[in-house]
């Protein structure tokens, strides 16, 4: 059935373009992006609050483009981007009275919406939120619920809306989906959502126990020149497009001051991968610790953004009184 509230494309449907190089993948194998960072080196994060004045709180988050992407931007050769970098905008509306029809709640009622823009991913996304976007919303809600002091706003609601303008890839675009494949890009998106939402909540002056930062770590295997796929290694803040295969990934929402994890999401199986590998550190625990380390890194950016927001607020209120 067509959506009568939107402008629909041709009724027969359209097909995404097929590129000549993806028919003959041998010609592009050399162009596979490689991770240029150290295993524990994080991408730079751009985080700014208060860009959307009509909202009570807002933030905009952007990941630093990978080396391959910035090289492709500087001297474009192919119209197919090698990888992508996360860009998202987050708004917070509230606290506001709950709808009349809502049941009584002694706490602040948190609602989260995560929506990809139709142009956010390699394949066009629909206008209606799909199951994965709803799932992201639920993950985000659990990550934030533990941090907000909800008793301070009885009978109130808080709406958090995230628009993902550009998402991360799940794998390198020319790779065929394999058995290890999953929506790895989603985990990076979730980590970004958590950090951005936390900044926006602080920008809306909602009382929180601590700033929640998101972090990702993954066990990845890369292609090496001499013997095919290398031994799996633990890396922080992975871009799935950079690696031959991702075996397992973990995203945490972490509050550094209290050393608490409010949300943990681990995907993939590393038990098989670690068999026959002398590295005894490749356990789930190490993976979670890695994600926490990544979250600590994001936290420093988050704290700086919140400080800027507080300074702006202080400037505004002192300006008002004069």
């Amino acid at each position: 059935m067509t959506d009568r509230r939107r402008i629909n494309g041709p009724p027969g449907g359209t097909r995404p373009p097929v590129f000549a190089s993806s028919i003959k993948p041998t010609t592009v194998a050399a162009e596979r992006p490689q991770r240029q960072r150290q295993p524990n080196e994080l991408r730079k994060i751009f985080l700014k609050t208060g860009l959307i004045p009509s909202a009570s709180g807002s933030s905009y988050l952007e990941f630093e483009p990978s080396a391959s992407l910035s090289a492709a931007r500087a001297s474009p050769q192919s119209v197919i981007p090698p990888s992508s970098s996360l860009k998202l905008a987050c708004t917070v509306h509230g606290p506001k009275p709950l709808a009349r029809s809502a049941t009584f709640s002694p706490n602040l009622v948190l609602t989260t919406h995560v929506k990809y823009a139709p142009f956010a991913a390699r394949q066009r996304k629909g206008h209606i939120r799909d199951a994965s976007e709803r799932d992201l919303g639920v993950h985000l809600e659990t990550a934030l619920r533990g941090a907000i002091v909800a008793e301070r706003w009885p009978k109130s609601g808080l709406d958090i809306t995230i628009t993902v303008l550009e998402a991360e890839d799940d794998r390198w675009w020319a790779d065929a989906p394999d058995s290890h494949d999953a929506a790895w890009g989603m985990m990076n998106v979730l980590a970004g959502c958590i950090t951005a939402a936390s900044a926006a909540i602080a920008d809306a002056r909602i009382d929180c126990l601590d700033l929640v930062a998101g972090g990702v770590a993954a066990v990845v295997a890369d292609e090496t020149a001499e013997r095919g796929v290398s031994a799996p290694r633990l890396m922080l803040d992975t871009d799935p497009a950079d690696h031959r295969s991702t075996l397992s990934a973990c995203v945490v929402a972490y509050m550094p001051a209290r050393d608490e994890i409010t949300e943990l999401w681990l995907k993939g199986d590393i038990s098989k991968a670690s068999v026959g590998i002398d590295d005894k550190n490749l356990t789930h625990e190490a993976l979670i610790d890695g994600a926490v380390d990544a979250a600590r890194g994001a936290h420093s950016v988050l704290a700086e953004a919140v400080r800027e927001s507080a300074e702006r607020f202080a400037g505004l209120s002192s300006g008002k009184s004069t």
Partner: protein, 411 residues
């Protein structure tokens, strides 16, 4: 500020800071700014500090989104629109009415369709008439090759519930963008066509040509006229134009349209050809072979609202003022008491106070010494703007065209 001066005369217990006065008495607040007391020697200025015909600071940035063929971010004051264009391919075999319209069109005196008619000579140059007005763009509308959608459910302003179906405002804005794209004929149909020249070669030549016989969409091969008459459209590019209003503080249409304009100017389509063996369209991934759209002109939208001193104007039935009223207004005009203000590029606060709206879409014809062309004119909600005011607004919009032209030229 005018209002704080007015308030300070009240007893101290009742004095309010300007921001609260603005919320409690929005109409009086704006009116006090626009008609300051003659004794104060202050100019008439809007509550946001702009002159009535002044637009907000506009900035654009293009090409920052990775997965799009063209993208733009436009900030119009506090209103932000992000536009991303993704191109997909529509095969003619997927168009239900293609074969029908295809065969029936042979009798129409239409150059483009004649080309596809096997009885005609196909060798005539498609490029020669490309700038002529009678160019055929009916494909764009008939097969909906441009698909603009505007989304307000991004938390851009309180009141738009995220996750809900598009509001009436979002639907109307999407539709206005679509109808303006069609009526301004901004995008050329020929930019979206993917042609196929069936090779008329011997079997041994065919083999050699398998690699490079693929016909470019707009490059005419030498002597193609003599080769054969089988040149046909195999597919179209469909441009999905999605506009996300990230922040809404009034005047979403101007922001959205400027974003569409900037994104279309940024759009690059890869070279595409029909691959006869695979029976599909293949694109080249080389940037050097991709080409930009050649747009027709630069239609720039500017919106206005009319603010009336009469606070009840919003409730009043919209009727043409009688002679008596007309005379009163003319008299007050003579005395220098202005009763109506046309506000350019209204922000959210002003939109709530002014009912009558005017939207002008202006282009300047570069071939005729920058002659102003009115692409669209829309006026509703009141009777304050008449012929004389509209003429003035066209002049203001023409200035705005220069501004936008400069801003878009920079990115």
């Amino acid at each position: 500020m005018a209002s704080s001066a007015a308030v300070s005369t009240a007893p101290p217990a009742l004095s309010l800071p300007p921001s609260q006065f603005a919320r409690l008495q929005p109409h009086a607040y704006l009116l006090a700014h626009l008609s300051p007391p003659a004794s104060s020697q202050q100019p008439s200025i809007r509550a946001n500090g702009r002159a009535p015909s002044q637009f907000r600071v506009t900035s654009t940035n293009t090409g920052s989104l990775t997965h799009t063929n063209g993208s733009s971010v436009v900030r119009l004051g506090d209103t932000t629109a992000v536009c991303g264009i993704k191109a997909e391919i529509l095969h003619t075999e997927d168009i239900a009415s293609w074969s029908v319209s295809h065969s029936s069109s042979s009798s129409t005196p239409n150059k483009r369709r004649k080309l596809t008619n096997p009885t005609e000579k196909p060798g005539e140059d498609r490029q020669d008439g490309s700038d002529e007005v009678e160019d055929d763009d009916s494909y764009i509308e008939d097969f909906s090759l441009l698909v603009p959608n505007l989304s307000l459910s991004t938390g851009c302003a309180p009141g738009f519930i995220p996750g809900a179906p598009p509001s009436a405002l979002a639907q109307s804005l999407s539709h206005r963008v679509l109808s303006l794209l069609h009526s301004s004929r901004l995008v050329r149909s020929e930019d979206l066509e993917i042609w196929y020249q069936r090779p008329n070669l011997g079997p041994e030549e065919l083999e050699r040509h398998n690699e490079d016989e693929q016909m470019d969409v707009d490059v005419e091969q030498d002597g193609s006229g003599s080769v054969g008459e089988t040149r046909e459209i195999k597919a179209f590019w469909v441009l999905y134009i999605d506009i996300m209003i990230i922040s809404l503080a009034g005047n979403p249409f101007d922001a959205a349209w400027t974003a569409v304009l900037a994104a279309l100017r940024d759009t690059k389509l890869p070279r595409a050809w029909w691959h006869a063996d695979n029976e599909t369209v293949i694109c080249s991934d080389l940037v050097s072979e991709a080409r930009r759209l050649s747009l027709r002109g630069l239609p720039v939208a500017s919106s206005f609202r009319v603010f009336e001193a009469d606070a009840a104007s919003g409730w009043r039935a919209v009727i043409v003022p009688d002679a008596e009223e007309e005379r009163k207004i003319a008299e007050s005009d003579r005395k220098g008491i202005q009763r109506r203000w046309v506000l350019a590029d209204p922000d959210g606060y002003e939109e709530g106070l002014a009912q009558e709206r005017v939207c002008l879409v202006i282009d300047k014809d570069q071939r005729q010494n920058g002659k102003v062309v009115i692409v669209k004119m829309e006026k509703n909600g009141g009777f304050a703007v008449d012929r004389k005011e509209l003429k003035e607004l066209v002049a203001v919009s023409a200035q705005r065209w220069e501004e936008i032209n400069k801003i878009l030229g920079q990115c």
